[in-house]
């Protein structure tokens, strides 16, 4: 069985290794260098460098006009991005924690997402709103949420979740120039992970599901941090003779589901893994698309989801870890599915 990662085949021969945070920073730096209409705004993104350091140093390079610290005003950060985008700018806003985007919802859901359609296609809102999601930092219930499915439900918004440094840079550059409001969901635990990142200003296309690993026994659809966890799990399972094929949608909406359906036709088994709570989560949409497609006839087992528990993220380290899927959980669930022990 061929085991090969897509990232390796896609990367040019000479590449450096950057962290996910550095890759994001490089995307912003290159976009700002090449285009004066690109600017950043958000809480503490200037001299502080952002709560997670993603924008560190950019204020020295571009100054406080283009790396703009804002008051704690999440509704107006989102709305001002939309207003600037409507009038010729390419704003990249930062919401300090994804949890806080709940304060921006009206401007995103009722304004940024709607104006183009509502005005007969005559306006566009080329903005990106970056935000770190996810648990694992001990920050408890109000600083650990994964709220991507709220936005997947809103036509007019795009939802992007990079899982590697390579994708982080390429997807952010695509998002900045996409012409639509993009909710760009980063994962806090991925910021320090590293991988190959070319120096040039490359773009990873939106709405293009990535085949991360090939395998014939089971299709595993994973998002964000669940992609590296799934890869690790696949290594363990491979030693047991179970070959897992991993797909990373990267753009959750609009979703490119064809590679997922094709993969399930090949493997006959599907497992969807994400950190957000299972009920109402993105996994349900993927499961429904598989079940409603021609892949249905090829299914040899029920479509399974492995997701966060339906609870707020708890503070206690063990409780927190237990709330979201870990490598061993993915191994166990995939093994059960492959062996028909569901």
């Amino acid at each position: 069985m061929l085991i090969e990662t897509q990232a390796q085949t896609q990367s040019p021969p000479v590449v450096r290794t950057l962290t996910y945070a550095e890759a994001l920073r490089e995307a912003m730096r290159q976009a700002m260098h090449s285009d004066p209409s690109v600017f950043l705004m958000g809480e503490d993104i200037g001299v502080y460098g952002g709560a997670f350091g993603v924008t560190a140093g950019l204020i020295d390079e571009f100054g406080p006009e283009r790396v703009r610290d804002t008051p704690i005003s999440e509704a107006t950060i989102a709305g001002a991005c939309a207003g600037a985008a409507l009038t010729g700018m390419h704003p990249v806003g930062e919401i300090q924690f994804m949890d806080f985007v709940t304060l921006s919802m009206e401007q995103l859901v009722l304004q940024a997402a709607k104006v183009r359609f509502m005005f007969g296609g005559k306006a566009s809102v080329p903005m990106v709103l970056r935000m770190p999601a996810g648990s694992g930092t001990g920050a408890a219930a109000q600083h650990s949420e994964s709220l991507e499915s709220l936005f997947v439900h809103i036509p007019g918004l795009k939802v992007v979740m990079p899982s590697s440094p390579y994708d982080a840079k390429g997807l952010l550059l695509s998002s900045i120039y996409d012409g639509n409001p993009v909710i760009f969901v980063e994962h806090k635990l991925l910021y320090k992970t590293s991988g190959p990142v070319p120096e040039e200003m490359y773009r990873v296309p939106l709405s293009q599901t990535n085949l991360v690993r090939q395998g014939g026994d089971l299709t595993l659809v994973a998002t964000s941090i669940m992609v590296p966890r799934a890869l690790e799990a696949a290594g363990v399972l491979s030693q047991e003779g179970i070959q897992v094929e991993i797909l990373d949608p990267r753009t959750l909406s609009p979703l490119d589901d064809h590679p997922i359906i094709d993969s399930v036709i090949k493997t006959g088994r599907a497992l969807i893994v994400h950190e957000a709570p299972q009920t109402g989560g993105f996994g349900g949409e993927v499961a429904a698309r598989i079940a409603g497609s021609r892949a249905f006839d090829y299914l040899e087992a029920p479509v399974r989801r492995l997701a966060g528990l339906d609870i707020p993220i708890p503070y206690n380290r063990n409780l927190e870890r237990h709330t979201v899927p870990q490598v061993e959980d993915i191994v166990a669930e995939a093994r059960r599915l492959a062996r028909g022990e569901y």
Partner: protein
């Protein structure tokens, strides 16, 4: 009214009114009158069409508020400067130079409407002329206006952004965030609070513990002024001053325009929260009659001329209706268009 508050109310003297009329000139003054009469005629026709069951959904009429729309629009350069306005927005769009035919077509849900029939009465925008649209969400346009102001500043033009919202909007969180942000960044935004005395049924005295909404400006360190919103010249003068400040880099101004909504909030309103007497008192301050009186006293308007303006406006609305009625419905095959920019 206490002395302290008198200072916050702009008083237009007769001498100054004559000066302003001289500055405007007869041609422009008569255009303003015709535009006010056109707005009234448009809305009366809209009301009639609704009663005849020829339109779909609801509408919010600004009859009695025409002087605010004209005063504000005439004080900026419509088509070059930017406008964001609220759900009771027919008058603002017409005052901005909008075409009654495209508005009527939009009102009737036709493909030739400003928004291809996707927006309707509450969301009319004329993006090509920098009218960034009426908003169905109270205060919804205010954060975007801050972003438009930021965009103007970053692009280095001498444009200004006029954002019109109601008294109800001044009690929302985004109002606070956006006025603060516009103030700290010295943005070229005119915040025009069109106080028509009611947030649906909630009267201003019950929703505010201050006599003048413009007083809130002091909390943001910006000028605030209240003006008689039924006096075209007074609104024109005050908004002109605000626009000059904005263009001169002196930042935003909060203008409160005191006016009155003659009709109910929307079609379902039985108006049990106010007396007929109160409505009559305000109708005696009809902004159209008041401006016509001024023009007559200045020798600029004869009874014959007034009648011909009225006839011309009425004919304009009949032509608009004929255009709208003859226009095609949107093609169902185009239903998905305009959600995303390509």
């Amino acid at each position: 009214m206490t002395d302290e508050l008198v200072e916050e109310m702009y008083i237009l003297t007769d001498d100054r009114a004559r000066e302003l009329l001289d500055m405007l000139g007869k041609e422009k003054a008569l255009q303003v009158l015709e535009a006010m009469v056109t707005i009234r005629a448009f809305e009366e026709k809209a009301e009639e069409l609704y009663s005849l069951g020829k339109t779909h959904g609801t509408m919010h009429l600004s009859i009695g508020q025409e002087a605010t729309a004209l005063g504000a629009s005439s004080a900026v350069r419509s088509g070059y400067d930017y406008l964001l306005n609220h759900h009771r927005g027919h008058g603002h769009c017409l005052a901005w130079g909008g075409e009654a035919g495209k508005m009527m077509a939009e009102f009737m849900g036709k493909e030739t409407g400003y928004c291809r029939g996707r927006g309707g009465s509450m969301h009319i925008a004329d993006v090509a002329r920098n009218n960034l649209g009426a908003n169905g969400i109270v205060a919804g346009g205010i954060p975007m206006a801050a972003g438009v102001g930021l965009s103007i500043r970053m692009r280095g033009t001498d444009q200004v952004c006029l954002v019109i919202f109601g008294d109800g909007a001044a009690n929302t969180g985004p109002f606070h965030e956006s006025l603060n942000m516009a103030s700290i960044w010295n943005l070229p935004v005119i915040f025009l609070c069109e106080n028509n005395q009611f947030a649906m049924s909630m009267p201003v005295p019950r929703a505010f513990n201050i006599e003048r909404i413009s007083r809130r400006a002091s909390a943001y360190g910006i000028p605030g002024v209240t003006v008689d919103g039924n006096d075209f010249l007074a609104v024109y003068e005050v908004v002109s001053t605000a626009a000059e400040r904005a263009r001169a880099g002196q930042g935003p101004t909060l203008v409160e325009s005191l006016t009155y909504r003659w009709r109910g909030h929307s079609r379902s309103d039985r108006q049990v929260y106010r007396t007929r007497q109160e409505v009559k008192e305000w109708q005696a301050r009809d902004p159209i009659n008041r401006f016509a009186d001024r023009l007559q006293k200045a020798g600029l308007l004869s009874a014959e001329l007034q009648e011909s303006i009225r006839a011309s406006a009425t004919q304009g609305i009949e032509d608009a209706l004929a255009f709208a009625e003859a226009s095609p419905e949107p093609d169902l095959a185009t239903i998905l268009e305009g959600v995303y920019a390509d």
